[in-house]
């Protein structure tokens, strides 16, 4: 029995470790309350590629970079490979119904827990003035830092551009900045 008990203990320890690892892997990143229930970027550096953008598209990117750089992120146009940005007339039918733009993670890290490469698409059809583009830029780049949507019920500070629709809102608020600080490695 003396010989068996330590092995049993060791097995239990291994089982718990495996279970804990599995739980970590299966639980969505930041599944707790708030707007951090989106996959996080793999690091603070955001090297951004502007792919044949219009003037409005470039303005949206500039706003996104400015807002991210207020946080612990380091967003820059130098280098490439972290965020690919496009704009086009994607229309307002089908999947693009009501959409001004979207962000998605096109390449995850090896363990699938974080995002290596983001893609942003701005919809020229549904974005009107430069102010609309800048709001959408703040919103979509906020997603690339792992922020999900805010709503009136959980946005008690100055309204955040992570509301949907962003409307004329053009800034991340302190809550958003704190989420980025606390969740991006």
């Amino acid at each position: 029995m003396h010989a068996i008990a330590p092995r049993s203990t060791k097995r239990r320890g291994v089982s718990i470790a495996v279970l804990a690892l599995a739980m970590t892997w299966l639980t969505p990143s930041g599944a707790q309350a708030g707007n951090d229930d989106l996959i996080d970027p793999d690091n603070h550096a955001h090297h951004i590629d502007r792919n044949s953008l219009t003037a409005n598209g470039r303005a949206a990117v500039a706003t996104g970079i400015y807002q991210l750089d207020r946080s612990t992120m380091n967003a820059t146009l130098s280098g490439s490979g972290d965020v690919e940005v496009y704009d086009a007339f994607y229309g307002n039918s089908g999947f693009w119904n009501n959409l001004e733009g979207y962000a998605d993670c096109t390449d995850r890290t090896w363990n699938l827990l974080e995002c290596d490469v983001w893609r942003i698409r701005f919809n020229d059809t549904n974005l009107g003035t430069e102010a609309d583009w800048r709001s959408c830029g703040c919103h979509e780049f906020g997603h690339t830092a792992g922020l999900s949507h805010r709503s009136a019920s959980n946005d008690s500070q100055a309204p955040s551009c992570m509301r949907n629709p962003a409307g004329t809102l053009r800034a991340l608020d302190n809550h958003d900045l704190a989420v980025i600080r606390d969740t991006v490695d």
Binding site: L38, S52, Y86, S93, G94, Y102, G128, C136, N164, P165
Partner: protein
Amino acid sequence: MAHLGKVQSRRQWIAITVIVIALAVILTWAVVAARQVTGMATDLPADLPTTADRSIVASTDAEYPTLDALTASSDFVVKGSVVGVSQGGTWTFADDSGVPASGQTDRLLRIQVEETVFSATGADAPAEIFVLEGIWEAKVGIQHQAMPWAQPGERGYFYVKDYPEYGDEQTFNYVDVAGRVLIREDRAIVADHHQRVWAPVHDEPASGTPELSLDPDSPGQSSAILSRVETLIGRAAGAADSGAAKPIELPRPDPCPPTAQCPEFSPADRGD
């Protein structure tokens, strides 16, 4: 001893054979079970995945303030079951749009309608409808984070409006990403819980406990008590029927100026 060795060797081979057969049976069972779960997977070409690989988080140009408004803005609100998934038409975009030349192909749910909960015209919805839910781009499945792909066998409420490019009376689009409620036993899985249309579920908890909680399968949607949500759905349908609730008119800009390379749609034969 040599005889004993032969017997042991034979037993080892028998054991290996049994294990291999057992593994084959388990594998076959798993494949069949997976096909049953994904239901009409055979409706799709083999190279189109039945589950989404990517989730988008989108910025919208408007928000429906209430469930009444969402209902009144729908052509139909139906209760029904997903009986299949098929490949729809394909949109192609400008060369520098970042979308591959193969475009974005619609993923259409085939829904058997049990009940027309609301109708803008007063007429019942067709017995079977198709609803756009997600796309494939370069054979990769893409969904809204707030509306993970529904699969055959699931039941729910669907808020839909005409999808004019198909030119039929059977194919629809969701009015909004918030326009779907899936029924799972006594729970309602509400798409896009961030939106105000579902705020009443937040606001009126029963038994002193919050009714809306994050859906463990998807942080973009929430799980709520079904009976409570069905009451809200019925009440909103009544408001829309009576005219007390008005549809929201969204801005509908021209999809594209004449000087630009515009999106083009190619309908597909869905085989129906």
